[in-house]
Amino acid sequence: MTFRKYLVLGAMILFNAFGDVALSHGMKKMGAIHAHRLTDAVAAVFTPWVVVGILLLLGFFACYLTALSWADLSYVIPATALGYVVLALLSQWLLGETVTLTRWAGIALVGGGVFVLARGPVLTVPEKPRPPAVTADAAEGQS
């Protein structure tokens, strides 16, 4: 993995985390969408916080597609979870929120999961078909 590829993964993680927060905030401000008025979900797309969320998630999407072009899906998806750890830590440092014991356990598990993942290969290399085994008869014929 080159530094540039780590940079793509880092940007993907941050865009995803902040995009999710903006979307969640926007939808909470909008209120509940009722089953008989699902078209309200389309109207939600044009509210400011949802627009910010969508722009951030577009940034995530560009990085995500780039990562998928050189890494396995089963590598890229768990890596995105590191964004939740970043958010939990930021919420404590910047917003003064208390990180509970449960959240610390979550941070440890996600961090451990990504650490385990990062020590393995990024991409599955398809196995090349083995050349046919040379039989004793064929070997004698060649000599």
Binding site: S24, A35, L38, L68, S69, D72, A81, R103, V114, T124
Partner: protein, 126 residues
């Protein structure tokens, strides 16, 4: 809102998201390493290479379904239920789908990672 509706939206979100991820992965593997391509081709040519793939647009369609399911689920239930439930399940379903449909080498290391991350995210968002 009825919890059956909420879990229906979460189920649709997980299924559509997993299908979208698999289709996009297929499209991007066919496209090739974007870093290498950008060194040889202009941005427009690389974009055309991606956007002319059917699997890319099928992936986008699935992601669109997932996105609206998320919006609806978030409006019906707290993010503290929707986020951990949907994301943890998606980590596991994606690992299964990557092995089944993409023939990725999902070895013990990746299973362990998917489970740790899935449980961890659930705890974080709860």
């Amino acid at each position: 809102m009825n919890s059956l509706y909420t879990w229906g939206a979460i189920g649709l979100l997980v299924a559509a998201s997993t299908a979208g991820d698999v289709l996009l992965s297929v499209a991007m593997k066919k496209t090739g390493d974007l870093g290498d391509l950008r060194r040889r081709q202009a941005l427009g040519a690389v974009a055309t290479r991606i956007f002319t793939q059917g699997t890319f647009w099928m992936g986008i369609a699935c992601m669109t379904v997932a996105f609206f399911s998320l919006l609806v689920a978030l409006s019906w239930a707290d993010v503290s239920l929707v986020a951990p439930a949907a994301t943890s399940l998606t980590f596991l379903t994606t690992a299964v789908a990557a092995k089944l449909f993409l023939n990725e080498n999902v070895d013990q290391r990746r299973w362990l990672s998917a489970v740790l991350v899935g449980v961890g995210v659930a705890l974080l968002a709860w």
